[in-house]
Every structure is written in C-alpha cells, then in structure tokens.
Amino acid sequence: MTLLDFARGPALQWSLIILVVGVMWRFTGTILLGRKEDLSKPRRNTEIRDGLATIFRRSLPEHQFEKKIRFQHAAGYTWHLALFIAVLFSAPHILFFESVLGFGWPHLPNGIILVTAAIALALLLALLIRRLSHPVQRLISNADDYISVVIVIIPLVTGILASAHIGARYETLLAIHFLSVEALFVWFPFGKLMHTALTFPARFRAGAEFGRRGVKA
C-alpha cells in the first residue's frame, strides 16, 4: 500500500468516523445538559423569531463595536469564506466529492482557487500573529487555540503545494494533503473547531433569551 493509498483509504475512513462520532457525541452531550424552565412571564412570545434573527444579526457588528473590531471581524469572515470557496469549488475537490456523493457541480479556475486559498492562508497567519502579539488574545489563548489554527493552516499549505506541483512528486504532495485534512478531521471534535456546530445554537439562544425580555440581541 502506497502512502497515497493509505491516505485515501483507511486513514480517510477512520478520520471520518472519528469526526462524525466525535461531533455527534460532543454536540449531544453538550446540548443534553438541559436547562430549567424559565418561570418568569415573557415580555413577548417571539423567542423563535428573535433567536433566528440573532443568528443572522450577529454576523454584522453593531455600530458601537464595529469601529473597534473591524480587522478581526473582516479577517474572520473573509478567511472562512475563502476557505469554503477553495474547498467547494476546486476541480480536484469536486471530482473527489463526485466519487463519494455520485454527483458534482461546476468548478472555478485553478488560478482563482489558488488566490482564494492564499487569501485564507494569509489571513489565518495574520490572525495567528495577532493572537501571539495582542495582549488580550495572548493572555486568554491556550494550546487548543494554537493547535486549531495550525491544523487549518496545514491543509491550506499542502493544498496549494499540491495544486501548484511544488516541492515533491504530485502523488506524495496529494497524500500529504489528504493526511493533513484527516488530521483536521480527527482534531475537529476535540478542539474549538466545534464552534462550527455550536455557533448557531449559541446565537439562537442569546436572541431568544434577550427577546423574551424585549431586547434585540
């Protein structure tokens, strides 16, 4: 079995199992902690509407805060968006998804994918530097914060190298790219990447709780 066979075979299968089982375990274990019924009389009964509104509203900073968090906010959303474009619209990725799902979709030119991946990488590095240098972020950061950034950066780097055929044989680069993505899958349920699954529930709850008190959150 070659390294690429291993990466595309058992490593992929096991990492996906860990990802799915781990996320389900942590998600349900967190949610199932439950909560007491709120016996206070709500100011208005629009909790679902308020919760859904907050899911969308929190994507935009408020007037009071916008001027203070402009870089982090813009950089945060941009790198996420760039990553999704690179993952979902790269031709080799779509071929892979097609082999698994049975259907594909149109891809973007390789040059655009390389640029978006480079943007995501540059912003992640900038945010990592900020985390290392900004007094607040440096103080509150733990190993998870650094591991999670690095584990997202590595697939981007290996993907760019594989796509541009730089540094080694294509098969080797592809195998390393697969393995780096699988490392991300394995880490995902254990670290703060879990925010992906829990951000919307958290926003919904904030919106619903403030909403029942008559406050837009």
Partner: protein, 444 residues
Amino acid sequence: MNIDNAAFRDFRESLEHLGSDTPSEILSGEEQVRRAKQTFMDKLDGPMAVDLTTCVHCGMCAEACHYYEATQDEKYAPVRKFEPLRRFYRRELSPMRWLFRPFIRDVTAQDLEAWQELVYDACTGCGRCDMMCPMGVRLSPLINVMRQGLASAGLVPAELRALQIEQRDNDTVFGVGAGKLREVIDRLKQQGIEVPLDKSRAEVLILTTAVEVLLFSAALSATAKIMNRLDADWTISSQGFEAANLGLLSGDEATQRQAAARIVEQAKTCGAKTVILPESGHAYQAMRWEGANELGEALPFEVLAISEFIARELDAGRLPLSTATNGSSVTYHDPCRLGRHSGVIEQPRQVLKALGMEFREADSNGRENYCCGGGCAEYVIKRSAPLRQKAFEIKKREFDETGADVVVTSCANCRINLMIGAENGGWQTPIESLVERVAASLTE
C-alpha cells in the same frame, strides 16, 4: 438635585467603614474549592455548556467592557473572568472530560482568591459583552456563576458581604428597617404627601429601597405623588418594602431567594395585582426575571419598573404633565439591568419626551449603553474606587458630548455611582431621577 448633601456626605462616610467589622468566613482552601465546584456543577446548564464550547477566544468581548476600555488592561477581558469555570467544565462536565482531564489544570483555592478581584471589583454584570460576542456567547451569566461560586467559597468582598449578611439576618439594608421607613413616611405626611402604609388590601404594592429612604426620599415622595394623582389603590408594606437584593448582588442565592420571598409574601397578603419596583435596575431583575425562578413558581402579580408604569399611564392619558421645561435638554443613562437585561429602554425616553425636554441620545445608549461603572453594588467596594473612577470618565465623556443640561437615570445605584464620580472629578452636570422629574411636572 433633590438630595440632602449632608446625608450624601454621611452616606459616603459610612461606606468607608462598611465591612470593617464583618467576620470573615474562615474556610480551608480545600473546602473553598469543594464548595465553589459544587456551585459550578449545580449552576452549569446546557446553554452555558454550549457557550463554553463555542467561545473561540477571539477576545472581542474586551472591547465591550468599560473596565478594559478605561484601562486597556488585558486582565479585564470578560472571557478571562470565567476562566476557572471554563476549566472546571472541560475537566468535570464536558462530554470530552475523560480526554481533557489530564491536560487541564484543576481549579485551586489560589485561583478563586485571584478571581475575586476580576469578578467583584471589575465586573458589574452589565452584559454589554453579551451584545458584542460574534458567536452569540452570553458571558454575563457565566461570570455570575463565578460570582455564585466565590460566594459559596466565602470570598465575597467584606463590604458586600456585610450588606448581604445584614439583609439575610435582619431583613434590613444599610440599617434601614420598618422604623426608618416610618420616619420618612411621617415626614412626607407633614409635607402633605400621603403614603398609605400597611393597608390590608391594595391593588398595587409599591417597593422602595434603603438608599431611597436614606438619600433619595424625594424619589419616594415623587412616587407617592404620582400614585395619589392617579387615585390608585396602593400601599407600602413595612414588612416587605425593600426591593434591593443583596443576594443577587453578592452571589448568595439563599439570600436572594429569601429577599424575593419576603416581597412575594407581602404582595400575596395584601392581594396586590401589581408590584412596582422603585428606581433600581438590579431590584427589577431580581423580581421581574429571577423572582419566579428563585421561588419555583410563577408570580401571582404583574411586575413593573416605576418608569414603565409611568410610561403606561402616560400612554393611557391618565397622567397629565406640564411641558414647561424652559427648553432644557436631557440625556438618559440606561441602568444595565433595567435596559439591556430587561427591555425597559423606550419607556423612560417616552417619559422624558413627554416632559417637553429636548432629548439628546448619548453615543452608547439603550442595549449598548455603558455601565455607570459601579453597578452590582460595586460602588461599596473601597479598593475598586480608582477603577470605577476611570470607568466613570467614559460616561462623563459621552454625557459631555451630548451637551445636555441634565443627566436623568432611573436607578438609585447608578445615580449614587455617577454622583460619586462627578464629585470626585469636579463634574457639575446635574444627575437626576426620572420619577422625581415626572412628579415635579404633574399638573392638576
């Protein structure tokens, strides 16, 4: 300003000695940790677990905190203030605890002592960070659990603890009991203001606070004038008039429950359909939102803040007011627990506009308003005075930018803290009470 300056000086003087003779609770470090962790275990629920898991340590919450803004000291980042709770959750409650435990340091007595300053001196529970978090994390409930954990570990600062013990053991605050209330009511009666005390039956139960009795009796007088002008069937109970809840402020839940139960009992006794809270943000939160949950049953009456009651009466056309204000301008300071935490935001503005004053909004207002800097009874903690003064400078700057002639608020604690800040900084703009302004504008 309707305040007796000598009384205010005496009050400030009394704060200097508050807690000096309060016996501290001597617990071993092991017992402190055991108690705090038990409280953490009891209080953490699903939504808090979601929040603790969702936080990505972006640190943006710091930009919402008035203490961070005032000092730029990273330790005041709100997310930092519940770090021991986060560690506890990950080690002992998270579904991944079996894996996390060896890698995460346990909570120690030293941690609890170190966090006392962050939780009590440098957080007023204002909830501004709740509005900032891009992930939707509600930080203030998590910091409140920290507060409750420290309280159970006997780590409430001495001044706050003195007040909490006083309310728990004597049902008084700042020494104000039924006797002092009667003295004020008798004085008001001599001025021709009738305050129906201890009526056996009444539609409306009015609450007041020790601070109103001691310092702001004009606010109590104003409330009485308004209720009498409305010809309302109302009373004050000498056995349950205190709206302040030192249990909520200190994190001692037993005291919080006891204080809430006392009010509910009096309301039930007189058959009140409505309980009106005085100008106090935390008192409103304690009764309106937490009362039912503390007592385990829905409240058998409606709970209103005096400002929302006045707005409702104005809206119904039952409260005729003079709009002769000589063209003066006003800005409003939103008490955090009345505004952001409770939705009483438009009502006080509606009232001020009805008074005919030119209303000028500060840059931060309503749900994004900055705390006065001394909420959650922090103004009683002596060692945090320099920090509070720095936070007050933010308010002062924003008030000055409006150019308003008067600052009005609807919380006695905010008023005290703003007055202390103004006095220390030589700031002259009057800081007034909403209810007093309304009573002064009542027409025949």
